[in-house]
């Protein structure tokens, strides 16, 4: 069937990593530059979709043994837990804080609790996008 897509497959394998890297970059840059969990998540999802388009559903099922529906749950749980976490410090729901830390490899780094919330957004968006598209794609109705 798909006998002659060697170029597609070769380029895709490279491009996927570029897209994923860009997605991570968008995600971490979000606090100071355009980007953030939502765009990053969509970008990561598009990388996965590219893989699915190139290699087909059957192959991907063997290689990528993840259930994207769990992403939704995990993302929502993280986002919610971030909000609840502020109760430990006697703060209102979803209070955020940030600070500058000296980390071994990265040097002086700004860490914000808002990033944890953004991880939740990131995972949810990936989960949602992939669930919708894979569900429709797998449908034989």
């Amino acid at each position: 069937m798909r006998s002659n897509d060697i170029i597609l497959k070769t380029t895709s394998t490279i491009i996927v990593f570029v897209i994923l890297a860009f997605s991570v970059n968008l995600f971490f840059a979000g606090h100071n530059a355009p980007g953030g969990g939502f765009i990053g998540g969509l970008m990561a999802a598009s990388a996965f979709i590219l893989l699915y388009i190139t290699f087909g559903l059957k192959t991907m099922k063997k290689v990528l043994r993840v259930n994207f529906r769990y992403f939704i749950a995990a993302g929502l749980l993280i986002a919610f837990a971030t909000g609840v976490g502020s109760f430990i410090f006697g703060q209102p729901f979803l209070s955020h804080t940030f600070g500058h830390f000296h980390l071994p490899l990265l040097g002086d780094t700004e860490l914000a609790t808002a990033v944890m919330f953004d991880i939740g957004v990131y995972l949810t968006v990936i989960g949602v996008t992939m669930t919708i598209i894979l569900t429709i794609a797998e449908d034989r109705g």
Partner: protein, 778 residues
């Protein structure tokens, strides 16, 4: 103490099912008979204190902040009614023990009956108008249940529903009147309202209050034209008819009119409404009663007519008339209660209530015949001192002649009143004779289901007791005068009457009127067969029942038709309604409030790329409308989306631009995926007219939204809060991307729920596709 008297029947009702379930050997009625009797005994014991002018109250708080309390109050009027309710209640329970056998649904019967009894006591004892209304509706409800007691019968259900609809209609009107009264007088207590009578009389709502409250009283007391529910309520078991539909519930309206007499009495409008409708009811009820063939139907129309007579006397508003009304309330309860019980006995012992089949029962049922004789002759007002009905009727004639004619309106009506009173009484005489003679004398007509014989002694006790009252009061009317009637009249009228009831007035006008009634009544009764045809003309084909039925059915027809015209099931139509409403309501508001302004001072300059993109988007948007191909329409719609993302770039919103770009791509892809499976776009089959409507509506929505956008941009009422976000983003949120800081930090809650929405949407799509019923698709 008073509250326990009201509470006792309700509490009993609570225990009745247990008695019925666990003590099967004894008829449930015996077990609960002491309750109404105890209540009756309690009220009897209050007679002397009330007669001395002392009144009782008791207060149980309910919703004090709204002025709603169970405040009970016992004066002469309440005492009269309480004695009737508990006394006749006791007799009815006793009678029902023999009337209903143990195979009936006795638990239902006695629960309903005791709820009714408690509610009725609540109505007559309540001083708080809202508590009064509560009990009032409880009587409607329990009456509904009792009429529908044999719910397997279609006629029972019809009668129950009819009485419910009519009495609740009046009840709600009355609630409106009571609320207005509360607003005007700023109190919920009836006594305080009466004390503030002049405020009510001067209030602009006076007519409204009066009409609404009288509507409640008229529907409950079966006054013309609301009398139609009462004959149909005869589907109830006979003890119920005797209790509710002759002695107690139908007098609730009378009670209310009497209770508020001090508030309204003496005004022309009160006289015209109460006397007018009372006389109309009196004549119409007695006229129609002659036509009936069912014993209970005769009694029902008779009740209607007698209630009209009492109403009329209340409408007269003189001291003597009020006294006569009170007297007749008492008398009517005694003779009508006994007559209903006799009708029940006849039904029970012969198997039919159809008067055309009955006859010659006097020798077979001598005691019942005697009882019926006293009841019917008292009802007719036959001039003999042994009938209490004659005394009150005589007083009725007397007061109809002595109207207070100071008001010109009353003076102009007054001459017709005695004529109508006599007319109504003639027919009363005719149907009373018909009731007695046709049932008990002559020969047996037709085949009876069972061989008639005298009723068991237990069944006869109650009517005997009532008939004893008929005779004793007929002979010694002053026996209850000072104890019961005078305090009741004082409570209604506000002054203590100095009234001595005498049988013999001498040869005066009222006596001649009575003799005319008897003479004409006898003639009419004997020639009955010759003039029966008159009913073919009046009422002929017209009747209030027919009007009720056609209104009732028309209601469903009209409602159905209305709903079918606009609930078409077409989403296109519903969207049309919504849009028309928005354009109408918002457009009118914009126009009326003069809300449209244009402020051009702080408009930003427009660059040519923005113009180009805007034009392309406009063209693309228009193209989607006229596009014939589905796929093409989606792609062209994508142009709008990408154009928007470009605009975001121009307006310096990189995050939005990025998101819009990706989301637009995903949406277009999904659209293509879905629409790939759909059939080709059909050419629209709308008529040119509908199309024009659509164009007009969508055009006006567009114009409206544009106007609102311009107007809201032009009127900046306060400073934007954006400056705060820009200033504090780095300092508080630790980030330079203000949009992102707002999304995850300052307004993080919105984001939390937005991703929840996304998650739900994804799971929804998953569920719809994966879990759908495969068979349904095939």
């Amino acid at each position: 103490m008073l509250q326990y008297a009201v509470l006792a029947p309700f509490l009993t009702a609570l225990f009745v099912p247990f008695f019925f379930r666990y003590i099967r050997a004894i008829h449930t009625g015996w077990l609960i008979l002491p309750i109404p009797f105890g209540v009756f005994a309690y009220f009897l014991s209050q007679i002397t204190t009330i007669a001395e002018g002392q009144n009782h109250d008791s207060l149980v708080q309910w919703v004090p902040s709204l002025g709603m309390n169970f405040s009970f109050y016992l004066d002469g009027l309440s005492l009269l009614f309480s004695l009737l309710i508990s006394g006749i209640g006791t007799l009815v329970v006793l009678y029902s023990i023999f009337y209903l056998n143990k195979n009936e649904k006795l638990h239902n019967f006695y629960v309903f009956l005791f709820i009714f009894m408690g509610a009725m006591l609540g109505v007559v004892l309540s001083d708080n108008v809202y508590a009064l209304y509560l009990f009032w509706e409880l009587t409607s409800l329990s009456s509904f249940l009792l009429i529908g007691y044999w719910y397997e019968r279609q006629a029972s259900r019809y009668g129950a529903l009819k009485s419910m609809i009519i009495t609740v209609l009046g009840g709600l009107a009355m609630l409106g009147g009571l609320i207005l009264l509360t607003i005007v007088t700023e109190t919920t207590s009836i006594r305080e309202m009466i004390a503030a009578s002049d405020v009510v009389l001067e209030s602009p709502y006076f007519t409204g209050i009066l009409v609404l409250i009288l509507l409640g009283a008229f529907t409950k007391s079966a006054q013309f034209p609301f009398h139609i529910w009462l004959p149909d309520a005869m589907e109830a078991p006979t003890p119920v008819s005797a209790f509710l539909h002759s002695a107690t519930m139908v007098k609730a309206g009378i009670y209310l009119t009497a209770r508020l007499f001090l508030l309204f009495g003496g005004t022309d409008i009160f006289f015209v409404l109460v006397t007018g409708f009372g006389l109309l009811t009196l004549c119409w009820g007695s006229y129609m009663a002659v036509r009936q063939t069912d014993l209970k139907a005769i009694l029902a129309f008779s009740t209607i007519s007698q209630l009209g007579m009492i109403m009329t006397m209340l409408g007269f508003g003189t001291k003597a008339a009020v006294f006569a009304a009170v007297f007749h309330i008492f008398n009517h309860a005694t003779f009508k209660g006994s007559l209903f019980m006799v009708a029940g006995i006849v039904d029970h012992e012969t198997g039919t209530r159809d008067i055309r089949k009955l006859g010659g029962l006097m020798t077979l049922m001598p005691i019942s015949a005697t009882l019926a004789f006293f009841g019917a002759f008292s009802m007719a007002g036959v001039p003999l001192p042994i009938f209490n009905g004659f005394l009150s009727k005589e007083m009725f004639f007397q007061t109809s002649l002595d109207l207070d004619t100071t008001s010109p309106l009353v003076a102009s009506i007054a001459p017709f009143v005695p004529v109508l009173a006599v007319l109504g009484s003639i027919f009363t005489f005719v149907y009373s004779m018909y009731f007695f003679f046709h049932t008990f004398t002559g020969k047996t007509r037709g085949e009876l289901k069972m061989k008639p014989h005298e009723a068991p002694i237990g069944m006869l006790i109650s009517p005997v007791v009532l008939v004893i009252f008929v005779v004793v009061i007929g002979l010694l009317p002053n026996l209850i005068n000072g104890a019961i009637l005078t305090p009741a009249t004082a409570a209604i009228f506000g002054e203590i009457p100095n009234k001595h009831i005498v049988f013999w007035h001498g040869f005066k006008l009222p006596l001649y009127m009575s003799l005319i009634v008897v003479a004409l009544g006898v003639i009419l009764y004997l020639t009955r067969a010759k003039w029966q045809a008159v009913y073919e003309w009046i009422p002929g084909v017209l009747s209030a029942n027919k009007a009720y039925d056609s209104i009732y059915n028309m209601k469903f027809r009209i409602a159905g038709k209305t709903t079918r015209t606009y609930m078409t099931g077409s989403i296109r139509h519903y969207v049309l309604y919504i849009l028309i409403f928005i354009v109408g309501a918002v457009g009118a508001t914009l126009f009326v409030t003069d809300g449209f302004v244009i402020e051009t001072a702080d408009l930003a300059p427009i660059s040519w790329p923005e113009i180009v993109v805007g034009l392309v988007m406009a063209v693309a948007a228009f193209a989607t409308i006229v596009m014939k191909n589905r796929i093409a329409a989606i792609l062209v719609l994508g142009v709008v989306g990408y154009g928007l993302s470009l605009l975001f770039v121009f307006f310096r919103a990189p995050d939005l631009a990025l998101t819009q770009l990706i989301v637009e791509t995903v949406t277009v892809a999904l659209f293509l995926l879905c629409f790939y499976h759909l059939p080709k776009l059909d050419t629209e089959k709308t008529t040119p007219g509908a199309k024009t409507v659509n164009i007009i509506i969508s055009g006006s929505v567009g114009v409206l939204v544009t106007l609102i956008a311009i107007a809201s941009h032009s009127s900046k009422s306060f400073e934007t809060i954006a400056h705060y976000f820009i200033k504090e983003s780095h300092h508080l949120g630790g980030g330079n991307n203000v949009v992102n800081v707002i999304l995850v930090d300052m307004r993080g809650l919105d984001t939390l729920f937005e991703i929840t929405v996304l998650g739900i949407a994804a799971l929804g799509i998953y569920a719809m596709i994966r879990l759908r019923d495969k068979e349904e698709i095939d």
